[in-house]
């Protein structure tokens, strides 16, 4: 029962951010580049959450930030899951030599700092939303691949896989019938965690000025810009921080809840 509460809470939190991101596509209180407000205004009737030091509306920028967070999270997770999942499955099925090689490659990639990787990607492609997604997605792929490899190997060692082989089931069908259903609950929880980490990683990139360039206002950039005026205009720093936490906590709760719904062994007996 408590599980159900967590799941609902997760859905509510994530939907909140998704809705804000969707609304920002059609409507924001002010145009993104509008600088007509006063500098560092406090929350008020005209600018609900106040303005930044260039006179831009904070709520507008937060809404656009939600869009970027969702895009980075979803994009990086999609890229990481696809590349990582495939590489992990390949390694699980590979012979000893190929498996060892892949495992070593993954270890190197995981040891490689994400930020350094991001800087390389930015250096190659320029700072953009796409670069951020590619950099974070690649780093994530290595982690997802290693996890997929271990999980898939565990499933492949089970007798029910041997039974499937002696039943004449082909390898691709064994993957879809047994391997994926048995690894995805663990994988999806991990991907949700990665979604949260991707959003945080993008915030760090933007904070360092490696993220999507202005007028794209990611939450990390907002935090960085509000840093110097945190004492005089605290809302500018607190609001993006709160939103980051809401999104990250939300996806984690959602993932935990999903795993329980998806797993028949966790359901109560009749």
């Amino acid at each position: 029962m408590r599980r159900r509460v967590f799941l609902v809470a997760g859905i509510v939190l994530v939907l909140l951010v998704v809705t804000v991101a969707l609304v920002s596509l059609f409507w924001t209180p002010f145009p993104a580049a509008d600088t007509t407000g006063g500098r560092l205004e406090g929350p008020g009737a005209h600018h609900l959450l106040g303005t930044d030091k260039l006179g831009r509306d904070l709520l507008t920028r937060l809404m656009i930030g939600a869009r970027i967070a969702m895009a980075v999270g979803a994009g990086a997770v999609a890229l990481g899951a696809l590349l990582g999942g495939l590489a992990g499955l390949l390694a699980a099925f590979a012979n000893r030599w190929l498996d060892d090689t892949l495992a070593a490659l993954l270890d190197i990639l995981i040891a490689f700092p994400t930020l350094l990787l991001a800087m390389l990607v930015v250096a190659a492609r320029g700072a953009s939303l796409g670069s951020a997604i590619v950099a974070i997605g690649l780093a994530m792929a290595a982690i997802v691949a290693r996890l997929t490899r271990v999980l898939a190997k565990r499933v492949l060692a089970m007798d029910y896989v041997t039974a499937a082989r002696t039943s004449g089931l082909s390898w691709p069908r064994i993957v879809t019938a047994h391997v994926l259903p048995n690894i995805w609950p663990t994988l999806v929880v991990n991907l949700a965690l990665q979604f949260g980490l991707a959003v945080l990683a993008e915030a760090s990139l933007s904070y360092l000025g490696l993220g999507p360039p202005p007028p794209n206002a990611s939450w990390g950039r907002l935090l960085q810009e509000a840093q110097s005026t945190v004492l005089t205009a605290p809302v500018g720093a607190i609001a993006p921080g709160v939103l980051l936490v809401v999104l990250v906590v939300g996806v984690n709760l959602l993932a935990d809840g999903l795993r329980d719904v998806a797993d028949p062994t966790r359901r109560r007996h009749r």
Partner: protein, 247 residues
């Protein structure tokens, strides 16, 4: 001979031989036990008989022909030979409903009348029809082994290869599963190849016995002779080791 091993040997690239010059066969409708303890090579031999691995020397023959190795070519063989494993926990996918588990060989081998065959198989192993919609974790060890047996007989194979099918079960459950296997053999004319270290199960189910020690056959013949008057020293020790009830 429906299934036959001819001078079968197996060794890993970097190790000592697991199996060395193993020969035996089973005629259709008969039953044979492969008996031995850990490291005897029983499980490896079973995998060779199933065509999951290829012997490094010698051949495995099904109906007089070498086992096909390619997936498609192996389908007719799969239709004839099905398996039951020791551990009724790891042998059933925890995320699949029983109907899906039992129906897997039917789907894989392209049967069209799956639902009635699943129902018939569940009925044959003594499970209620409503078992089909449930998941493995809702069943006891013995019931799970019945599900595994239902999966094996769903395609009505001619040969059942069983890897320690009763070793993980409680005594009273063990007796019931032995009875079930004996009944299936009698009613369907199934050929049974059973790997086991449980000599009581072997004596109850198998016409013939092959004793393996460290990858070699040390003795083989009718079960009554092999277990009743063993000639080999290892077989004698094995039999003497079985704890018996006080009379």
């Amino acid at each position: 001979m429906i299934l036959e091993a001819r001078s079968v040997g197996f060794r890993y690239a970097d190790g000592a031989p697991v199996l060395d010059d193993v020969s035996f066969g089973v005629t259709a409708g008969r039953s044979v036990a492969l008996v031995g303890e850990s490291a005897a090579g029983k499980t490896t031999l079973l995998r060779l008989l199933l065509g999951l691995r290829r012997p490094t020397s010698g051949t495995v023959l099904f109906s007089g022909r070498p086992l096909p190795t390619r997936h498609r070519a192996a389908q007719p063989f799969r239709r004839q030979v099905q398996t039951v494993f020791q551990d009724p926990y790891s042998s059933l996918d925890p995320r699949q409903q029983v109907s899906r588990i039992v129906g897997e060989p039917l789907r894989a081998l392209g049967f069209t009348d799956q639902a009635p065959r699943v129902a018939a198989a569940l009925d044959a192993v003594g499970l209620p029809a409503d078992a089909a919609e449930r998941y493995p974790h809702e069943f006891s060890g013995g019931q799970r082994q019945r599900i595994a047996i239902a999966r094996a007989i769903a395609v009505e194979p001619t040969v059942l290869l069983a890897d320690e099918p009763v070793s993980a079960l409680d005594v009273s459950t063990k007796v019931r599963i032995i009875d079930l296997l004996a009944e299936l053999r009698a009613t369907r004319g199934l050929t049974l190849v059973m790997v086991s270290h449980d000599l009581a199960a072997v004596a109850s189910l198998c016409d013939e016995t092959v004793v393996l020690e460290r990858g070699r056959v040390v003795e083989q013949g009718p079960t009554r002779e092999v277990l009743g008057s063993p000639r080999d020293a290892y077989t004698r020790r094995l039999i003497a080791s079985i704890p018996r009830l006080p009379s």
